[in-house]
Symmetry: D2
Subunit: 295 residues, 4 copies
Amino acid sequence: MAKITFIGLGNMGGPMASNLIKAGHEVTVFDLSKAAVEALVAEGAKTSDTAHSAADGAECVITMLPAGQHVEAVYLGDDGLLARLPADTLIIDSSTIAPETARGVAEAAKEKNLPFIDAPVSGGVGGAKAGTLTFICGGEEDTFNRAKPILEAMGKNIFHAGPHGAGQVAKICNNMLLAILMSGTSEALALGAKNGLDPAVLSEIMKQSSGGNWALNVYNPWPGVMEGAPASRDYQGGFLVKLMTKDLGLAFDNAVKNQASIPMGSLARNLFQLHAGQGNEDLDFSSIQRLYRGE
Amino acid sequence: MAKITFIGLGNMGGPMASNLIKAGHEVTVFDLSKAAVEALVAEGAKTSDTAHSAADGAECVITMLPAGQHVEAVYLGDDGLLARLPADTLIIDSSTIAPETARGVAEAAKEKNLPFIDAPVSGGVGGAKAGTLTFICGGEEDTFNRAKPILEAMGKNIFHAGPHGAGQVAKICNNMLLAILMSGTSEALALGAKNGLDPAVLSEIMKQSSGGNWALNVYNPWPGVMEGAPASRDYQGGFLVKLMTKDLGLAFDNAVKNQASIPMGSLARNLFQLHAGQGNEDLDFSSIQRLYRGE
Amino acid sequence: MAKITFIGLGNMGGPMASNLIKAGHEVTVFDLSKAAVEALVAEGAKTSDTAHSAADGAECVITMLPAGQHVEAVYLGDDGLLARLPADTLIIDSSTIAPETARGVAEAAKEKNLPFIDAPVSGGVGGAKAGTLTFICGGEEDTFNRAKPILEAMGKNIFHAGPHGAGQVAKICNNMLLAILMSGTSEALALGAKNGLDPAVLSEIMKQSSGGNWALNVYNPWPGVMEGAPASRDYQGGFLVKLMTKDLGLAFDNAVKNQASIPMGSLARNLFQLHAGQGNEDLDFSSIQRLYRGE
Amino acid sequence: MAKITFIGLGNMGGPMASNLIKAGHEVTVFDLSKAAVEALVAEGAKTSDTAHSAADGAECVITMLPAGQHVEAVYLGDDGLLARLPADTLIIDSSTIAPETARGVAEAAKEKNLPFIDAPVSGGVGGAKAGTLTFICGGEEDTFNRAKPILEAMGKNIFHAGPHGAGQVAKICNNMLLAILMSGTSEALALGAKNGLDPAVLSEIMKQSSGGNWALNVYNPWPGVMEGAPASRDYQGGFLVKLMTKDLGLAFDNAVKNQASIPMGSLARNLFQLHAGQGNEDLDFSSIQRLYRGE
């Protein structure tokens, strides 16, 4: 078991830290929200006054922060964590940020002999609580192997996508594809319904045919077709539209920087953005189904 | 076992009729191509001079024709099959045509007390040969139940999508979604590759994550990732680009008639059409991957 | 001056017939709506019990009907107008219909030695009243030259686009481009406004730069920028969303039949259809601006 | 007449500086390319060893640089121009860069009491040579009024779009709309041609109808329709595809930062990027016509 400092206790980070405690790790936590910190302390975590002092003595630091600027603020600069941590402390950043930012932090870490991996997750709040997240990692093989047993306390599938930044790239690609699947599936169901078909029957047919995809398998966007799916509880909870548009914004940035064509992903991004702009940004992303139904 | 007349012995119809023979049915075939007819006769089929005389004495007529106009030509009019067949002969049309056309033939059949189902297939030439096609049927429950044992000689999954035309609608929806999945998957792989990721690694990650879909499971579009997939044999064979654009044309027609919005499907259709226009219409449809790679 | 029979007295046909009367032509009218007929009779038109008897004695028949099926019903069949009119009667169809339908009627007319042109219009109800419509004609040069002086009583620009059907094709192309211009202009204005720019200032800049187009010149979609434009009267009146989606449906059909790629036009069609589906089909088409503003 | 230092003598900057000389200004130039500098010296310009020394004694500094990073490198930092120029020196940046970057430089300039405007141009190399550029300016009214007479030596239309950054925003919006017009016009012409229409005739009709736009007026994309347009010289010269994709990349960035929906602009960007990826990045942007013709 390891001494782990966990920084960033939001909807995802909180349950992730909790699972580390349950696995027997010695966990110190930090967040600007006192309530979030206290919840973890009640489960057995230690804490400290600052992110930096919280990391003292850690064998491993894990960050789960909203955006690239926060990651840079924690790690870089004269008073950043990289300047304070002893060599060889393992650093895992599970935030979803631009690959360039991840690579920048990785390079700065390397100069201090600090092994770093980017390890963004998929699986949502449900996966974070259940400890069944998917981690998509970028970094050196050795670092990945050191991180893996720790990540296994929080997730089920732990992938090594490639060198530094590759975890972020793979997450961007996956979530862009997810946005395409979800809007495409919603569109096909709405077209069928306009023709009088029962969306449950059509879902079953497509799921077992060449239209089969993750949305039809576990996250059907049509209300009432799948018990337990956000669509069956008015699209409350789940993976919010505003988080999907954030991830699709990273895809846009990446496509521009790499001169890549992403017509399908761009259209999906704009449909989700239109949907967000009509007041739906705090609904689950499968609510894109409503855009197709004229609601 | 039944006396079955099979009309339309193309790449799909030929092996379908062959599987009926193997299952022990008494099959009479007809096609304008003598070579196609002779191949089936060599396997034990009977034949006749015309489509109409070929249907004499049949308990069941199956048609597998290129487009709606051919289906109408065979069945309707003063000298069409509907005017000739004795009441209660089971009619199965497996052509992929517009739902309106299917409904029109179904209504004309009903006036003659001829039970009719539309039963378009998915699964391609491979599925036709292996007898593992998916049949997506529209029509009355009784008719569906009568047709099912016959269809099981040619396919594995036999779905009842709803009333007359519903089989065609479900097929249109499924294939539109398939076009979206395939172009979206190709796009995500190309974006990852532009970032230096290994498409095989990225495919594996997305397949097990929320980007998972039929294309990643059994029909990976990146050359060399999946042995046996058309992508690994220069996109030869498989489901041709020109057939996919035909099906997407049916989706366009249907969306116009039903005032449905299909932004993702429309974009996919136009990407496949651009790709076809650049000389690729006789390649497998997963060759859309090439459009993203600038080839 | 000519003896003209005018069939179809809707929002467009009514004022068009009225302008023919004002120009001194001897006009007989027919419509299923008695009110529409009476309004024209009050202006000096004659009428008759049926479309067919209304055409007796005419030197020229003009039709302005909602869709292709109505045009076929009036002209074709054993009791259609083509069977009744004496040879050499000039026929002008100003309905907006599929080119194939126009060509079909033209061919049937030719067999009866009846000169026919398709002559769809642009310019809207305002242009119809003011007699400033644009006529886009398809047919033989001679027929076009015979029709031109009559059309000039109703319009300002009379174009000869090519052979039979070419008028319809050119109108489809123009209106597809118009849909692209209008949604593109709305999008650029919304993007500028999100950045804090004044839409009136931005409109003026783009109008005089390479973004200049018809929408910025005479039909600005942002409320308050252009006095007299539908945007400045809550998008009432003008060219309705449902008519634009009808025309874009013709573009879809045409692209499928001709295996043409129309990605921009398809996206515009789907945006207008989404907008229509949210309850805006009876607003002016420049109300697409609202889709971009999240209203 | 003013003492002006001009930094950045590329395809645009060179002829712009030349026009300042012709107007009687005392011009000092700098560029990393000696050939570019010598060409201007031959026309009467002075020069210096570095960008910084070139600016000594200037009443006005104008920069015309490829991207935001170059603009920041010239102006910001301890040894940037802002640290060196005496208060009240007028600064005009005509580079096309992100609004945020322009605002950052403007704020840094303000701290040094240096009046700054962002003044990106449209009109291309032809406009730069002819002195007929359009300048789209962002900044304070006073600064704009000081800059205007200088800009008039290089351009014909000088717009004040709003506060700092507004020039960049307006240029981004205009060029996004231009990309939409050009691809939309190309698409409409290709659709007409597929139907057998003469693109010259169709162009003329749409130009005078509601499809009218800048591309049809002065920059027709179909080869041979408009003498002098890049389309009539194999798309050589003009506004290169790679520059259009750069500008559309700025639109992407801006839409993400402002949570704006830009479906039409995004699709246009991806079509131009597909076209660039097929080896056409050094052709004029109206060569997008070729994508629609399957070349």
